[in-house]
C-alpha cells in the first residue's frame, strides 16, 4: 500500500474537530451522538442544538442513510447527499456534526444480499465513504468487522482492511481539502467490557501505522463498555448491580480502558448507550467516557408517541394499521432478547421507526395528522417535543447543559 505523499496539503484541524475538542476541554462531559431514526428525529436534533448550543452529532448507519448510487437508506428515503443537504440547509454553520456510523464492507443490506466478495464489498464501501466525504460528513467510522464469508477473521486481517479504508478516506479528504475525524473500533455485542491489554495492543498498531503513513490519529476509539441493547432494555453488564462471574466490575475495567485511550490521545466512544438509567448515564462524564451513541431508543420514542396520539384521538384503525405494518416488516427480529417475552405489540414498537418512510405509513400518518389538525394539534411538533425531551435526559446526565 503506498504511503500518502508527504507534501500533500496539511489541512490542519477542521472547525468541527476544534469545536469538539473545545467542548471536551471546557468541562468533563460526554458528547451525545444521535441516530437519525426519522426526519422528526433529525429535526429534533437541529432544534435542540439551537435551543442549547450543545454540540451534537448525527450518526448515520449505512442502512439508514446511504449514497444514492448504492440504493439510499430507509430513513425518510434520503440518500447521503440529500440527507447532508437537508441538515446543512438548516444548520449552515455546521454546528451539528455529520458522522458515518459503522462504515465498512457488508455494513449495508445490499452488499450482504448480493453476497459480495471482499474485494467488491471493499470497493462498494469505499464508494459510500467517498460520497460521505463529498457530502461534508465530519466523522467517519471505519468498521471492517463484518465478514459474511468467514466467521473467524484474524486481527491482522481486520487491521489490514482498516488501514486500506483509512488510506482511502484520507486520500479523498485531502483531495477535497477536507479535514476528517476518524472513529475506529469493532463492534462486539457480547455485553461485556473490552479486554484492556487487547485494546492497548490494537491502539499501538494503529498508532504505528498512522505515524508511518502520515495519517491523522483516530479521534474516537469505539470501546465495548458493557452495553448491549435488546428490545427496549440495555442488557449489557454495565447495569449489573452485582459482580458478574469472570468479569472485572465495569467501573474498574472502564477506568482502565479510559486510561489507555487517554495515553494514546484518543477519545473513548461508547455505542449502544440506549435505555441506561440516569444514574449510570450520570457516571459517564465522571468516568471519562468522551462520547456515546444512542439510536433505537429515539425510534421507539417516536413510535410510542404516535401510538399515544392515536389512542388519544380515538384512531384505533390507524393505530392497528401502524402496528401491523411495523410487525410485518420483521425488523424487530435482530433486537429480540433470548429468550424473549415480547408479544406482537412489543415487537411492533421495536420496529415502528423502520416503516416511517414507507408509502403505506405515509398514508396512515396523513390521516392521523389530519385528525389532529382538526383539533389544533400538531402531530410532528408533538413527536419532536417528545424526542427533544428524551434527548435532554442524556444532555443533563452527560453534563452538557449549564445548570
Amino acid at each position: 500500500m503506498d504511503k500518502l505523499k508527504v507534501g500533500v496539503k496539511n489541512v490542519g484541524l477542521g472547525s468541527a474537530e476544534r469545536r469538539l475538542r473545545q467542548a471536551l476541554a471546557r468541562r468533563r462531559c460526554t458528547m451525545l451522538a444521535v441516530g437519525p431514526m426519522s426526519k422528526n428525529c433529525v429535526d429534533a436534533v437541529l432544534e435542540l442544538r439551537n435551543e442549547t448550543s450543545v454540540p451534537l452529532t448525527l450518526i448515520a448507519s449505512r442502512r439508514q442513510i446511504e449514497a444514492s448510487d448504492l440504493g439510499g437508506g430507509y430513513v425518510n428515503n434520503w440518500s447521503t447527499e440529500t440527507f447532508a443537504a437537508y441538515v446543512r440547509e438548516r444548520d449552515p454553520g455546521g454546528q451539528v456534526l455529520l458522522a458515518r456510523d459503522h462504515g465498512g464492507p457488508w455494513q449495508n443490506d445490499a452488499e450482504v444480499k448480493q453476497e459480495l466478495t471482499l474485494a467488491a464489498a471493499m470497493e462498494s464501501c469505499k464508494r459510500s465513504y467517498e460520497v460521505d466525504i463529498l457530502a461534508g460528513f465530519d466523522v467517519i467510522h471505519l468498521d471492517p468487522s463484518i465478514d459474511i464469508h468467514k466467521t473467524d477473521v484474524s486481527q491482522e486481517e481486520l487491521l489490514e482492511r482498516l488501514f486500506e479504508l483509512y488510506q482511502f478516506c484520507e486520500s479523498v479528504a485531502r483531495k477535497q481539502g477536507r479535514h476528517l475525524m476518524y472513529e475506529i473500533g469493532t463492534e462486539e455485542q457480547s455485553g461485556d467490557q473490552q479486554d484492556v491489554e487487547e485494546l492497548a495492543v490494537w491502539l499501538r498498531k494503529v498508532r504505528g501505522y498512522c505515524a508511518e503513513n502520515n495519517l491523522p490519529m483516530p479521534f474516537f476509539a469505539v470501546v465495548q463498555t458493557g452495553t448491549k441493547v435488546r428490545e427496549t432494555v440495555n442488557v449489557g453488564n454495565l447495569s449489573d448491580p452485582h459482580r458478574v462471574r469472570g468479569l472485572v466490575p465495569p467501573e474498574v475495567q472502564i477506568a482502565n480502558l479510559v486510561e489507555i485511550c487517554e495515553q494514546f490521545g484518543i477519545n473513548l466512544k461508547e455505542h449502544n448507550t440506549d435505555y441506561l438509567s440516569d444514574s449510570v448515564l450520570g457516571w459517564h462524564p465522571r468516568a471519562g467516557i468522551h462520547a456515546a451513541n444512542v439510536a433505537p431508543e429515539f425510534g421507539v420514542a417516536e413510535t410510542l408517541q404516535l401510538l399515544r396520539v392515536c389512542e388519544e384521538f380515538g384512531l384505533s384503525r390507524e393505530r392497528e394499521e401502524f402496528l401491523q405494518l411495523a410487525y410485518r416488516s420483521g425488523k424487530w427480529q435482530k433486537w429480540l432478547a433470548e429468550p424473549s417475552a415480547a408479544g406482537d405489540y412489543e415487537k411492533s414498537v421495536i420496529a415502528g421507526h423502520y416503516v416511517l418512510a414507507s408509502p403505506k405509513f405515509v398514508d396512515i400518518k396523513s390521516r392521523i395528522a389530519a385528525r389532529c389538525r382538526r383539533s389544533g394539534f400538531d402531530l410532528d411538533a408533538s413527536i419532536k417535543a417528545c424526542l427533544r425531551h428524551t434527548m435532554r435526559r442524556y444532555l443533563r446526565a452527560f453534563n452538557l447543559l449549564d445548570r
Binding site: 491489554e197 452485582h242 458478574v244 467501573e251 477506568a255 495515553q263 444514574s279 465522571r286
Partner: protein
Amino acid sequence: MAALVLNRGLPRDADHLVEQLRQDSGDLADIYLIESGPSKKEMSKYCNYWADWPEARKMGLHNTRGFNYGLLELDHSGKKYGYYFLITGDLWFAQENPIRILREIIEAHPRLGIVSPLSPDWGEAQYFKGGDDLKCVWLIPHQGWLVRRTLLDKLIAVDDPSYMNYFYDGTNFYGYDADTELIIKAYHNDYAVAVTSEIMFATRPDEQQGLNTTGVEGGAMLQRLIFEEGLAWMHKKYGFSGKWEMREWGKTEYNNFMNRHPEYQQFGIGARVR
C-alpha cells in the same frame, strides 16, 4: 495474629475451615469461630463467640455486624493482635498455609492494610496473567481479608463501639458496598488494599446456601434486596444516587495513594502503553 471465621448457618463448612486453618497455621494464629446468631443445631462445634441476643437470633449477622461483633469481643477480652484474618465460614482454599502466605505478603509491604486471596470466579484473575502475584485494587468483595491492626486502629469506632459500628457500618445489614467503604477508608488513611494470586479461594465441592465465590449470595430476589438496601444506605450516608459514585470515590482515593506512594504503582492494575 488472629483468624476470625464467621459462620452463618453452614456449620460443616465452618468446621472444615477451622480445622484446615488450625492444621496449617495453628502455630501462627489463634483461630476464633464467630457464630452469627443461628439456632444451636446450625452452630459450628468450634464456636468461641455466639451472637445470641434476640435480634441476632432472628436475623443473623451478616459480614458487617458479624465481624464487628467478633473484633469487639476479642478487643474486650484484652487480646490484641498485629493482624486479623476476617473470613466467612463457607470458603475453602486451594492452597495450604493461607494464613502464613498472606502474612508474609502483608509483612513484606508496610503500606498494605488489607490483603485478600483471589477467587477463580473474579475477573481480576486476568491481572495475574503476566506472572504478577500481587495487585492493588480499589474494588474487591470481602470474603477473606487479612487486615493490619494499625489500619484497624484508624477505623474502629471509639465512641460507643458496638456490633453496629466497630469496624463496618452495621446499619448496612447485607453490606452492599460496605466493603468498598472500608477500602476507601483504607486508602484515605494511607493503606493499600491488594489481591494476591498466591492464595486462591477454591470452589466448594457441594453447593450450599451462602456466598458463592463471586461474593454474591442468594437468588434474584435476595440480590435485589441487598442492592436496594445498599443504595438506600449510600444515599442516606453520602447523598450518592448509585453505586457509581461510591466506586468513583474508591478510584480517587486509590489514585491519590498511588501518587503519594509511587513505589506501589508497580502493583497497580491496568495496562500501560509502551
